[in-house]
Structure formats: structure tokens, C-alpha cells
Amino acid sequence: MPEMVSITIAGILTLGIMSFVYKDNPIYKFCESVFIGVSAGYWFVSIFYQSLLPQLTDKIGLTGELTDSALAYYRQTGSLASGQWFNLIAAGLGVMMLMRLLPKIGWISRWPLAFVIGSIAGLRLIGELQTNIMKQIKESILPLWAPQYADGSLNLAASLGQSLTNVVLVVGILTGVIYFFFSKEHKGVFGGAAKVGIWFLMVTFGAAFGLTVMSRMSLLIGRIDFLLRDWLHWLG
């Protein structure tokens, strides 16, 4: 019975949100408010119990509960891992953020913002270089003629296919880079190469668009399936 009630509420809310397709209406406004309110409440409780409390109290030992790794360290040394105390610094930064609420000392909140943005940007720099530059260069080091062999003899059709793939990849990467070169105007041969680059990008976007539309259709089908099967029991 409670499950049926929750499914009915979910079904009504789904229809309420979908009513937006017709036009903005009071039912949509109600569902929108419920959605935002539930989300805010859920995330507050989730962050409080799954992030704030474990990071602040459990790891420092205020509740007597320890994570597995801290417990292993505690068993060996009889003391808590000292790194855990760094969480107090994070807590301090969090308190500094709340200074925004006091207009006279609101400027203090800029320090934790600067710390968070600077440290995360720095940490991400390595990952970005690794995945978006070094890996790209590595993946573009391809033979323009890639012979394919079957049973010891050259398979011409497969060789041409693979070679064409490699040529398209290398040309696509180079012309794409040229398109995103901002120090020179797109004119003459350079402009022609940039135009080829934007064509490659557009074909990629087209493929991505088609793929994602298909996945969105499956989401819609999932929602309709929920309404007709789980809620209304019209499907077997």
C-alpha cells in the first residue's frame, strides 16, 4: 500500500512536470516547487551526514568512529593519522565562507573562494594536459599507409580503409587545431584549412546529436513505461 501511494505521487508529479509541454500552469509551478524543495532538503541532509559529519567528527575521532584506513593506522600506532587534523583547516575555510552573511567582514569569504578555485584549477591542470594534449598527440601518431594482412597476404581493401581512417583522423586533428588558432585571421590557405576544420567539427556534432537524441528517446520511453506499467498497470 505505501509503495502504491508513492508510485501514485510520482506518477502525478511526472504528469505535472510534463504539463509544461502544453504551457506554464499552476500544476507545473507546484511540481517545480516540490522538486526544488525536495532536492534542497535531500542534499542538505545528504551533505551533512555523508560529508560534513564524517569529515569533521568521525575522522578526527570526536564520535569514536573511524574509517577503515584510519582504523588500520590506529591499530598499528595507537594514534590517529595526523593528516586527518587537516580537516579542521577545511572547516575553518567553510566558516570563512559564511562571513558573507556579515556585510562588514564579507570580504573574508573571498579567501576560501580563492583557495578552492586556485587549488582545484592547479590540480586539474595535470589531468587536462595528460588527457587533452599528450594523449591527443600520442593518438595522432599514426601511419598514413597502414597495410593490413590476412593469411600472410596483403588485404588491399582493408589496408585502404584503415589508411583512409588514419588520414581522416590526422587531417581532422590538424585542421581542427587551425580553426582554434586565434592569432591569425582565417584567410587564404590558412582560412581554407580552418574551414575544413569546422566541417570536421560539424560532422562530429551531428553524430553526437544523433546519438544523444536516441538516448533521450530511451529516457522518455522509460518514463512512459513507468507511467503505464508501474503506476497504471496497463502494460503486463
Binding site: I17, F20, D24, Y28, K29, E32, F35, I36, V38, S39, A40, Y42, W43, D68, S69, L71, A72, Y73, Q76, T77, A81, R100, S109, R110, L113, V116, I117, I120, A121, L125, I126, L129, Q130, I133, M134, I137, K138, S140, I141, L142, P143, L144, W145, V170, I173, L174, V177, F180, F181, F182, S183, K184, E185, H186, M202, T204, F205, A208, L211, R216
Partner: protein
């Protein structure tokens, strides 16, 4: 009476002979523990020769447990496992730099009997200053080069104006603000769902400053609904600062820059509602977007707004291109931010990255040539190895 006894003794003897003894397994041998190289510390690499009883038919070894202790005579506690067939593992749970650790490997047999190896250690884990793996050396060289290019170009941009080519869509930003002013309708500015440290979000802040300054001058309402609390705080500061720079601090209404929800679809539901109720003349979608991009852009289209988008998310760009009037593709968003602000740091950064792209293209071409000539010219073989080795 004697016959049953004799029979029982015979059955017992038969069972004793026919059932192989469940002997404990042989331990692993040659256990070696060394501080893990090229790491931030708190890790020890363990290598061993596996138990010879991994392959025996009866009661084979099925896995290993890693034990550690701060002294040889202290109780050893389990801190990890290694699967059957493994000859190495990295111990990290609970280890701390600068303290000695001893290790043992316990080989477990099918019947839960076990044998422990000799003790290895002490090992004192330490962090390494340098990651000497080729892949990381390449990253370091690349980073040093690009940073040098950027710093040099920031220096140049401070002395003279550097050229950045016109980017389609930038003029549309001013047109969009003008349109909203003429129509007497607000502008909606969305910084995406990324956090404040994302490059796309930072570029969105920069463009927001420009837009806010114009809206302050033209007395046009600017609505900025935010997804991330930190992004929200920064947006408030950016808009407030822009109104101050425009000489109209009294026109800033802090309720126009607000936090909505840090949950994707509730955020979309709220922003869609705002679009239909406020009917903004111009919508800006600049930053990092995910599945919500098309929902927002379609609703904006329904509301009759001019839409300008920019993101570095490949999939979402395709939706923006389809549904928006102007789209800044990938790095165009960052360039637009530099183009509009004219700040030496941003312009120099774009120029420095352009130099990096020249090197990138050069290395790619050299790489393709090296594949063709690696067996003929020694340099190309060396170059290919240099670029590919991990």
C-alpha cells in the same frame, strides 16, 4: 564382537589412506618491500614469488593477505589483499610517511589454512618530489613550455595590444543586451552546471562582468540563477563589482543573482519556469552544461528569446548549435572572454596557448613522419619512442 571392530578399523584405515591430508600451503618467498617510487608517499610496493601451492590439485592457495606492523615484534594487522596469481601489490591503507613498517604476506588455502612469509622491512615510505615516468616528464616539459609562452605573452600584452581574430558570436553579446533594453525585458544569464574552478565557468564569469556592466549602464534587469553555491557567491561579487564600475551601485539588486538548487533537473525546472514567466529578451548559456542544455535552449526558443551559448562540452555544443542563435564553440568561449575584457592576463593567455597549438601541430606532424621513417632514420625512431613510451 571382534569382527565389527576389525571391520571398523579397516574402514578407518581405508579412509585415512584414500583422503589426502589437508596440509597448510607453502608461504610466498623472497618478499621484498620498497618505498613506492614516483608517488606522493604513504605507499609501499611489495614483490614476492608466489606460493608453489597455487597450482596443487588439493587445497590450493586461493589468495593473499598483506599484513603490516610498526615493529617486528608488534602484532601484524591486515591492510590489504592480493588475488591468486599476484606477485606484487601496493600497500597503502593507514601507512604514513616517515614511519617504519614491516610486512608479511599470508597465503590462504581453500580450507582457510594459511602460511605466513618471512618478514620484510623496515621500509619508511616517503613522497617523491619528481615523478620520473616518461609520461609525466612529457607533461612537465609541455606545462613548462606553455606556462613560459603564456607569461611571455602576458608581458607583451601589458606593453602593446595583441591581435586576436574576430570571433563570430561576440558582437551578438552587445546586440543581445541592446535588444533587451529596447524591449524593456530582462536578460537571463546562466553560468552552467560546472564548479567555479572549471575553465568554462571562469570564462563565463568574465563575460558576465561585461554583460553586467552594460546592463547597469542601460538599466536593464539581469537575472542570474545559479546551480553551484560557490559559483553563486562569485556571480554575486562579479555583478556587484560591474555595477560599481559602471557607476550605478544603487541599481544592483542582489535578489536577481540567486541560488536555485544543486540538482540538475530541479534547477532546469526552475530556470524553465523563469523563462516562461519573465520572458527574457536574451538568454546567455555560458559555462559547462550537460543533459539540460537542450531543455533550456528549447524553452528559451519557445519564450522568444535571442540565445547565445558557449561551452566546452562536445555533446552539448551540438544541441546549442541546433537550438541557439549564436554558439561559441569550445575554446572560442575562452577567447571571447579575453577579447571582451582586453585584460593582458587573458589576452596573453590566449596568445600563449596559440603558441602551444603550433607546437602541438608540429609534434603531430613529426609523429606521423616518424611512423613512416622510424626504420630508416634513427632520429624518427627515437622521437616516436619518446612520444609513445609510458
Amino acid at each position: 564382537m571382534r569382527k565389527p571392530l576389525l571391520l571398523g578399523a579397516l574402514v578407518f584405515l581405508f579412509l585415512f589412506i584414500s583422503t589426502p591430508a589437508q596440509t597448510p600451503p607453502a608461504p610466498v618467498s623472497d618478499l621484498e618491500a620498497i618505498d613506492a617510487p614516483d608517488d606522493a608517499g604513504n605507499q609501499v610496493d611489495l614483490n614476492w614469488k608466489p606460493s608453489p601451492d597455487e597450482t596443487r590439485a588439493a587445497n590450493p592457495v586461493i589468495g593473499y593477505q598483506i599484513l603490516t606492523a610498526p615493529a617486528v615484534d608488534s602484532p601484524f594487522v591486515p591492510i590489504g589483499t592480493a588475488s591468486f596469481g599476484a606477485t606484487s601489490a601496493t600497500a597503502k591503507d593507514g601507512l604514513k610517511n616517515g614511519r617504519p613498517y614491516y610486512f608479511k604476506i599470508r597465503a590462504y588455502a581453500l580450507d582457510s589454512s594459511f602460511a605466513e612469509s618471512e618478514v620484510a622491512g623496515p621500509v619508511v615510505p616517503q613522497g617523491s618530489w619528481w615523478n620520473t615516468k616518461p609520461a609525466y616528464i612529457r607533461i612537465f616539459i609541455w606545462m613548462a613550455l606553455v606556462v613560459a609562452f603564456i607569461l611571455y605573452n602576458i608581458f607583451l600584452a601589458g606593453k602593446k595590444e595583441l591581435y586576436i581574430r574576430p570571433i563570430g558570436g561576440i558582437n551578438a553579446i552587445d546586440e543581445g543586451i541592446g535588444r533587451a533594453t529596447e524591449m524593456g525585458r530582462p536578460i537571463l544569464y546562466i553560468c552552467g552546471l560546472g564548479d567555479a574552478a572549471q575553465a568554462a565557468t571562469m570564462a563565463a564569469f568574465s563575460v558576465l562582468g561585461r554583460v553586467a556592466q552594460k546592463t547597469a549602464q542601460y538599466q536593464t534587469k539581469l537575472i542570474v540563477p545559479c546551480y553551484d553555491p560557490i559559483v553563486f557567491s562569485i556571480c554575486q561579487d562579479v555583478v556587484k563589482g560591474a555595477y560599481l564600475n559602471a557607476g550605478r551601485p544603487e541599481a544592483y539588486n542582489e535578489k536577481d543573482v540567486f541560488f536555485v538548487a544543486q540538482d540538475q533537473f530541479p534547477y532546469v525546472a526552475a530556470v524553465n519556469g523563469i523563462m516562461l514567466r519573465e520572458k527574457p529578451a536574451t538568454n546567455f548559456y555560458l559555462g559547462q552544461f550537460y543533459a539540460e542544455s537542450l531543455m533550456l535552449a528549447e524553452t528559451g526558443f519557445e519564450a522568444g528569446s535571442i540565445q547565445i551559448a558557449g561551452t566546452d562540452q562536445l555533446i552539448q555544443m551540438s544541441f546549442f548549435i541546433v537550438a541557439c542563435d549564436f554558439t561559441l564553440i569550445g575554446e572560442e568561449l575562452f577567447a571571447a572572454s579575453a577579447y571582451l575584457s582586453k585584460e593582458p592576463e587573458q589576452v596573453g593567455s590566449i596568445k600563449g596557448q596559440d603558441w602551444g597549438k603550433v607546437i602541438f601541430a608540429g609534434l603531430s606532424v613529426l609523429g606521423v613522419v616518424s611512423v613512416l621513417l622510424e626504420n630508416k632514420i634513427h632520429f624518427f625512431g627515437f622521437f616516436k619512442k619518446l612520444m609513445i613510451n609510458e
